[in-house]
């Protein structure tokens, strides 16, 4: 309504490319760096004046300025709210990043993590004051062991890659205990593996070699066997793998590696496809990390915090990192040092400490809240729905796009760029065009074994209606690409807060911070 009380008409739709004075586009508001808005004197908190001039800083008190402007509270709020509006998020729409698992993040979990008994609890408070926290860690550990069918779990790894490190360290410690660490230096991992796998193996002092894939996108068992020998430390295999396929020969792979005296590290990034259906412990796995931020819905938070508890087999359990929780007569306590972890008369030793405290407690609370909400029936249904959704997308899109492999998939559908051949449109252009359609692009150019890979993981959180719209958009884009609209694809995105950014320039002349000199220049 206008101020005369008359209904407003829609008017004529004319030019859409209006240049505004502010540079803003209605709800899309340009926002400077906080340092360019604030002043060195400004603060958004009210603190009392220190009453004394006590100074026991050993003559090392700060005499120079820090160089950081502050903002008032309302300016701070507006600054970050405006920034937030330049982000895509799972709460806004499908976020089909394959292998990243962007599923719904229930807010109950946030509420539980903020209970003062968890959120305001000091990690070094006496054990008598933290019994409930240790109980929570122990309860979550029970769920993880039960769901994986594994006898032990290391809770402290701070993220998936940290869990990989934990698992590979346990393997190294086990080899040392066998007196074979010196000769067993080779680790095998498929070319389709996450980059963290080879990086982790090297960080543990191993060398890495590729396991060839067969033409169905899975480990080539015979080729793997040919590479095994008495210098093998172990293998790192993701299952379901990064092509979204279950490794059919998983048991034969495990047997062959064990026969050669090595261990089987399973990258558990894709556990969300099988949780509640299949126990990795039944497949011969020795160690596997679980990304609580993938399978068990703790929020990704724009790149962390993650959490990567790592389950261990009987063979590796004695080498678990400290600290860990034990329970005797209903009383929980922590084992915090290597020496305390060492059983009397035993020679095996814990692999050591991975982090200052007990792991990502805040994520533990969220994950347990999610698991209890779902229960064993819900965890299973979630896995089934994730697999159902991916196969539905695969079935709908294969009319216009080219699946990388034949047959059904697990929780993610992998396409290559054959359908874009001779269109002038590349995978990246296709991805950027999805942004204009209101979607976060799928994972692109990963796994490396597929040309121009597009890895779509819808997760169980998407409804059929949402998937139908998504598939409709994807099919329309594929048709447009084939119809010769390459120029439009190259220009995409046009409706996002920014057009394509120059990453080459960013790397060539790295500008990694704002400097106060820029403020002085701006003032002149």
């Amino acid at each position: 309504m206008n101020n005369q009380g008359r209904p407003t008409g829609a008017g004529e739709a004319t030019a859409s490319n209006v240049k505004t004075f502010t540079g803003n586009k209605a709800l899309q508001i340009e926002e400077a760096l906080s340092f360019e808005i604030g002043s060195f004197e400004q603060t958004g908190v009210d603190l009392p004046e220190p009453a004394s001039n006590a100074n026991r800083l050993g003559g090392l008190d700060r005499k120079s300025d820090i160089g950081l402007p502050g903002l008032s509270e309302p300016e701070t709020m507006r600054h970050f709210v405006r920034l937030s509006q330049k982000n895509y998020a799972i709460d806004m729409g499908p976020f089909p990043l394959g292998s990243c698992t962007m599923k719904h993040n229930p807010r109950l979990n946030e509420k539980m993590a903020r209970l003062p008994g968890f959120g305001d609890l000091h990690p070094l408070a006496p054990e008598s004051a933290v019994q409930g926290a240790l109980e929570l860690i122990d309860t979550l550990a029970f769920w993880l062991k039960e769901l994986t069918g594994m006898p032990a779990v290391a809770m402290s790894p701070k993220a998936g890659a940290h869990g990989e490190l934990c698992g590979m360290m346990a393997i190294k410690a086990a080899l040392e205990a066998r007196g074979e660490a010196g000769k067993r230096k080779r680790v095998l991992a498929p070319e389709s593996a996450h980059g963290t796998n080879p990086a982790t193996a090297v960080q543990c002092g191993f060398t890495v070699e590729n396991i060839p894939a067969d033409k169905t996108g899975r480990v080539d068992l015979e080729a793997l066997k040919a590479k095994l020998g008495d210098d093998i430390a172990g293998i790192m295999v993701t299952n379901p793998n990064t092509c979204g396929l279950f490794e059919r020969d998983i048991r034969a792979i495990a047997d062959a590696v064990h026969e050669a005296g090595g261990y089987f590290y399973c990258d558990g990034a894709n556990f969300n496809a099988i949780a509640g259906k299949v126990r990795p412990g039944d497949l011969g796995v020795d160690a596997m990390h679980i990304n609580l931020h993938k399978t068990f819905s703790t929020p990704h938070g724009g790149g962390g915090p993650g959490s990567g508890p790592t389950v261990l087999s009987e063979a590796l359990a004695p080498f678990a990192p400290v600290p860990y929780v034990i329970c005797e007569d209903g009383k929980y306590s922590l084992v915090e040092t290597r020496r305390a972890a060492k059983a009397e008369g035993e020679s095996v030793e814990s692999l050591g400490r991975l982090t200052a405290f007990h792991g990502q407690m805040g994520m533990f609370v969220r994950a347990l809240s999610y698991m209890m909400s779902h229960g064993k029936d819900g965890v299973r249904q979630a896995s089934e729905d994730a697999v159902l959704n991916a196969n539905y997308v695969l079935a709908r899109l294969k009319t216009e796009m080219t699946p990388a492999f034949e047959g059904h998939c697990m929780h993610e559908a992998l396409f290559d760029d054959r359908f874009l051949k001779d269109t002038g449109v590349e995978t990246i252009d296709f991805a950027k065009a999805m942004i204009d359609e209101g979607y976060h692009p799928m994972t692109m150019y990963f796994p490396l074994v597929v040309h121009g890979a597009m890895l779509i993981e819808p997760t169980e959180s998407e409804s059929k209606r949402e998937l139908d719209l998504f598939c409709g958009a994807m099919l329309s884009l594929a048709k447009r690409a084939k119809a010769g609209e390459a120029d439009a694809f190259k220009a995409a995105p046009v409706y996002a807060p920014r057009r394509r950014l120059d990453e080459t320039a960013a790397a060539r002349h790295p500008v990694l911070r704002w400097t106060p000199a820029q403020k002085a220049e701006a003032a002149e």
């Binding site: 603060t43 120079s64 502050g70 920034l83 008994g117 960080q203 950014l501």
Partner: protein, 446 residues
């Protein structure tokens, strides 16, 4: 099952579209006897039941805010403005992924750029990364980076370094056969670590304020390190101290690692926290972790992207500087918001309030019979030597509602000499009443 949108009609329609009759047909690659395993776990629960069950567990713990709290040693109870927790729960921040598509992730990228700026300024360094998991893992990464830069293999750990940081560093360095030399426990900052640096040394790792609270002058250590071609890694576990103390950068540090929890992040029983990692511009290509850089878009507008990713695992794989994949995204945001609210003026004032609280607490506790204050200098944390084992005292005071600090046996269980030590932290949250309660109960326990 409130988190799942499908009903059975949807599921049937979708199975039909796929061309299979039941869901297990999609799991046909799984060995038959491993499919549909049985689990000894409960079925799904309503929101109310979950709240009740977890509420019971939470209620068994004594929160830091439930009474007087003087525990520090690497994690600190500070007041967090309400604005911080509200903003980090916005969907667009909470439920976003790593900013791989910068056109629709400028919100995350810009705050990472602001975070890097704040960390570099606070530490007195030229550049900072977009965060590590926490201070302790950052410390290990710093030692690995020093090895890469110097091509030397020996790492020296000061006796004032938090023992858990030392343990994490050792765990990581043993893997690559580096030599780790740990100096003995150094309660009163009297060690001469500089004289132990030799030509084989890749880095020396020194914490200030150290685990006992002592403020250490890093300048002579930096000079000695540089004379031998080694690097000085400075560790700071209490980020509020940046507001009161000369920065490690001003004292010649080559890498500064820190725990950023104190700014914007709750105690969370030890995690998630946010690791700070800063260094000199010349070393950026040897840094671990994500880096955010400034650039322009196709229309010439300023924007931000993840950059120098040729250091990272997803590009370099077995040649990466680290296997690290995530940073502490949302904790980084909490830090950035709180730091923006504080500004330079607020941080300096907050730091002095912390120092004042610690001075008052030390003065009061020093009056108690059987208590000796060890430190000559400190910021917001100091160490007491008690007339008896501190563990029993801490347990007794916890029963009486006071979280008294960290007893030596908790951090050095196998070193009897440390068992009478009590590490006490006092932040702006501590009141005069808290100090009075603590002193009188401590007197009663000794």
């Amino acid at each position: 099952m409130r988190y799942l949108p499908h009903n059975d009609i949807d599921r049937q329609a979708m199975l039909k579209a796929i061309g299979v009759s039941n869901i297990d047909a999609l799991f046909s690659d799984v060995p038959k006897d491993a499919l549909n395993a049985k689990f000894d776990l409960p079925d799904h629960m309503g929101e109310m039941e979950v709240e009740r069950a977890l509420g019971v567990m939470a209620a068994k713990n004594r929160a830091a805010g439930a009474g007087p709290c003087f525990i520090g040693a690497g994690a600190y109870k500070h007041h967090i403005p309400a604005t911080v927790d509200h903003i980090i729960q916005r969907s667009e921040f909470l439920t976003a992924y790593t900013p791989y598509q910068p056109e629709i992730a400028q919100g995350t990228l810009q705050y990472l750029f602001e975070f890097q700026t704040q960390v570099a300024a606070l530490t007195g360094m030229e550049v900072a990364n977009a965060s590590m998991y926490d201070g302790s893992t950052g410390c290990a990464e710093a030692a690995l980076m020093a090895r890469r830069v110097t091509k030397k293999n020996k790492v020296l750990l000061s006796g004032g370094l938090h023992p858990h940081y030392g343990a994490v560093t050792r765990t990581n360095l043993e893997l690559v056969d580096a030599t780790v030399a740990q100096a003995p426990i150094d309660v009163d900052a009297s060690e001469d670590i500089a004289s132990q640096i030799d030509d084989e040394t890749a880095c020396v790792i020194v914490q200030s304020p150290d685990v006992f609270g002592n403020v250490r002058d890093l300048t002579p250590i930096a000079e000695a390190a540089h004379a031998h071609g080694a690097m000085l890694v400075a560790v700071v576990t209490e980020a509020i101290s940046f507001g009161a103390l000369k920065s490690p950068g001003e004292m010649g540090a080559d890498i500064v690692v820190g725990e950023g929890q104190s700014i914007g992040n709750g105690l969370n029983f030890g995690g998630p926290y946010v690791g700070l990692f800063a260094t000199r511009q010349k070393y950026i290509r040897n840094m671990p972790g994500r880096l955010c850089g400034e650039t322009t878009d196709a229309e010439g507008k300023r924007g931000f992207v993840l950059t120098l990713s040729t250091r990272e695992q997803h590009i370099r794989r077995d040649k990466a500087t680290s296997n690290i994949c995530t940073n502490s995204g949302l904790c980084t945001l909490a830090f950035t918001i709180h730091m923006t609210l504080l500004g330079e003026a607020g941080l300096q004032k907050l730091a002095m309030l912390n120092h004042e609280a610690a001075c008052k607490t030390a003065d009061a506790l020093g009056q108690v019979n059987g208590v000796e204050v060890v430190n000559k200098s400190y910021f917001n944390e100091f160490t007491l030597r008690l007339s008896k084992d501190a563990s029993g005292v801490v347990d007794q005071l916890a029963e009486e509602g006071v979280l008294a600090g960290v007893p030596g046996a908790r951090l050095w269980p196998h070193d009897k000499e440390a068992h009478n030590l009590l590490i006490v932290a006092a932040t702006e949250c501590v009141t005069d009443e808290d100090i009075k309660t603590f002193s009188s109960k401590l007197a009663g326990a000794l």
